[in-house]
């Protein structure tokens, strides 16, 4: 069957899909951006907080919106320009010297010199990003901890009687942990809180969901899988590695799930639902029918799918210049959209190889001919379930993928590298930290985050165990 990627140009209700697709295709950089600068910076300033662990500086260290420089970047440029041998193209060769020269300046005039801010993990270029205040001595308080455990993980405060019981308990800490275990098994946690945590990863859209006017997939499978993996002491890496789906009754299956809705092409359109992908090609959350329909859509190079996964599961937003691992010779412009232009290549030398592994998975596949929709060519939509299927012949570059600068033969390998990366663990911790404390971890939380990483890796990536560790912190349960 000769499949052409085609828009739903003569299909009602689908304009928003196209608009979204066009908007998400390009994550352009600028000719002035220099993706090798982060490495050069960290060689010059290895003690900087932003260079610790798997972290690398992103563009915002020096830029507001590249190529515009912030105050710190402006000071750096001013010093660079005093070097006779300086040119824009090889500026990273001199970056270390310039960084050292402005250590004692207070570029953003917020009262802390650049060096102190780099050590502390705050921005030397943003005046509102102050060095955090010193931590006050706190003691872990069972009452505080129990109240917070109840509200955050059970969605309800402890009762008067429960707090009274805590006062007389022989081991109050154990009682708090017991309460947390109950909460982590509650319907609030499993069916509501985790669902809301999953929202930005899954990105539900009513119009194309199972009840939508154009039903393309059913994201219930995604929410159930997320909640399942994140509970019950399961290995959270299965978010990217699971080869199973979770049924409504909570059981798992590696079977292909047939369409749940019959084919419709009238006032309402129903083309998808179910899970068509065979188990050996699955990568947990990122190969469900919904995920591939929602993110790949019609793209031959699923850049949006790769970038969204990179952001939501690995914590790096390529549109902000984060997580750049340029691959030599890329982008090759395999889909002939001039993505190899210098302005684009800055980010796409990372993004395109990152996306190749997704290209053998269907998004929204609609056969077309010169007259528009090819009804005969789309017979598969009537009898099959092609959205989100594996299709080895879909492109010629499915085996050319890279992640973190490392070549991978297919998406399964891509997912193994991703799930076992420090970036995955950090993002998982950051997601839960943000849910509990309503903010990202900062340098002042470094010790706690380190403990949580240790807890994750030594307990088979159990989120429950990690949360038990989190509530033991003085940040969570501390009171003066």
């Amino acid at each position: 069957m000769n499949i052409h990627i085609h828009s739903f140009s003569n299909v009602p209700h689908s304009g928003f899909v196209l608009a979204s697709a066009a908007g998400m295709l390009f994550l352009g950089g600028t000719a002035e951006s220099r993706p090798n600068a982060p490495a050069a910076f960290c060689i010059a300033s290895p003690a900087a907080a932003i260079c610790q662990g798997a972290a690398t500086p992103d563009c915002s260290l020096c830029h507001t919106a590249a190529p515009q420089l912030n105050l710190y970047g402006g000071d750096l440029l001013a010093v660079l320009r005093t070097y006779p041998e300086y040119t824009l193209n090889d500026f990273s060769l001199h970056l270390g010297s310039a960084v050292n020269e402005i250590h004692d300046l207070d570029s953003d005039e917020d009262g802390s010199i650049n060096f102190d801010e780099l050590l502390a993990g705050t921005s030397p270029g943003l005046a509102d990003n102050l060095v955090p205040p010193p931590t006050e001595d706190l003691n872990w308080d069972p009452q505080t901890a129990l109240k917070r455990v109840s509200v955050v993980f059970c969605g309800q405060s402890p009762t008067y009687e429960e707090l009274q019981e805590l006062n007389t308990a022989s081991d109050p800490r154990a009682l708090v942990h017991q309460h947390l275990s109950q909460c982590l098994n509650s319907s609030f946690w499993k069916d509501e809180a985790l669902y809301r945590i999953a929202d930005p990863k899954i990105g539900p859209l009513e119009a194309i969901d199972k009840n939508g006017e154009v039903s393309l997939a059913n994201d219930d499978w995604d929410y159930r899988l997320f909640s399942y993996v994140m509970t019950g002491d399961r290995d959270a890496r299965e978010l990217l590695l699971a080869d199973y789906h979770v049924n409504q009754d909570g059981t798992t299956t590696t079977d292909i799930i047939p369409k749940e809705q019959r084919f419709e092409f009238g006032d309402r359109i129903s083309l998808g639902t179910g899970q068509p992908l065979q188990a050996d090609k699955r990568c947990g959350m990122i190969t469900t029918q919904w995920y591939l329909v929602r993110n790949t859509m019609f793209a031959l190079v699923p850049r949006n799918t790769a970038a969204h996964t990179y952001k939501e599961y690995l914590g790096m937003n390529l549109s902000l210049g984060e997580g750049l691992f340029p691959v030599g010779g890329e982008p090759r412009d395999v889909d002939n959209i001039d993505i190899d232009a210098p302005d684009c290549a800055v980010c796409h030398s990372t993004l395109d190889p990152l996306a190749y592994s997704f290209s053998t998975y269907n998004g929204i596949q609609v056969a077309t001919n010169e007259d528009g929709i090819d009804l005969l060519g789309n017979i598969g939509l009537l009898f099959g379930n092609p959205f989100g299927e594996f299709n080895a012949k879909r492109t010629n570059w499915g085996a050319d993928g890279y992640i973190f600068g490392q070549p991978v033969g297919d998406l399964s390998e891509w997912c193994q590298v991703a799930a076992n990366s420090p970036q995955f663990a950090e993002t998982l911790i950051g997601t839960m930290f943000n849910f509990v404390f309503s903010r990202e971890p900062t340098i002042t939380d470094k010790e706690m985050v380190g403990d949580l990483q240790q807890e994750l890796s030594s307990n088979n990536y159990s989120v429950n165990r990690m949360l038990h560790k989190m509530i033991d912190s003085t940040l969570f349960g501390g009171a003066p």
Binding site: K147, V152, Q156, S157, G203, S438, P480
Partner: protein
Amino acid sequence: MKRFQADHNTCIVTLFFLSTACVPELQPRTDADDQDTTPAAPNTPEAPRDPVDPDAPNSPPPPNEGDEIVGNNQVVIWKRYRAVEKDLSRALEIPTNQLCTELDSLNCINEVHLSNLGGHNPIMQGRLTSLAEPALTTPLSIDRVVLMACIQRVDQDSASPPTIFTQYPLGRDTNGSAQDITQLDAQNRTLYQRLLSRDPTDEELVELRELAVPGTSFRDVAIGSCYSIGTSVEFIFL
């Protein structure tokens, strides 16, 4: 006020500060802070205090007189929509879907005020994340929800054998007698246990007595007490 704010306007001011002025820097309030502070009567505006030196906009706000205890100065956890709903429902024994509605049909917590109360609905609202901090209008939503729930409970207890407000007769006015005060304290102790899961201090009981100005109906006292405790910082932040 000691540990809570009974006053609507002060509650707004307090939440405004929490949402905009570096929550982690909030300091516990001590008894000494209260010595020169005159408690505000319910529904009487109290002049807002400026916690930040205007000449030092980047400095964290210093400890202020009047900043309430909100847990500790390291982190404050916001009790969001579901916990607010469940806590009020349990404390006042009103089913969650009857706690508060707007226009007689729209659920306050799950629909109308969801974002303000720290929730989101990806389908209904198209929002994929919740607010990290309370919005400027969050106090209005808290007020609305708590007040409607309190009125509902008091009305139900007035019309039939009371469930929560059992200590004083909702149908008569207060007269400032010793018996009234005893009944008032007993009722407020119950409200504290139900809404804040703890016993009130003697000082807190004394402050709540100020709602019972002789001649005020016990119905208004009941609503005011319930509303004061339910909109306290302690109820909303941990």
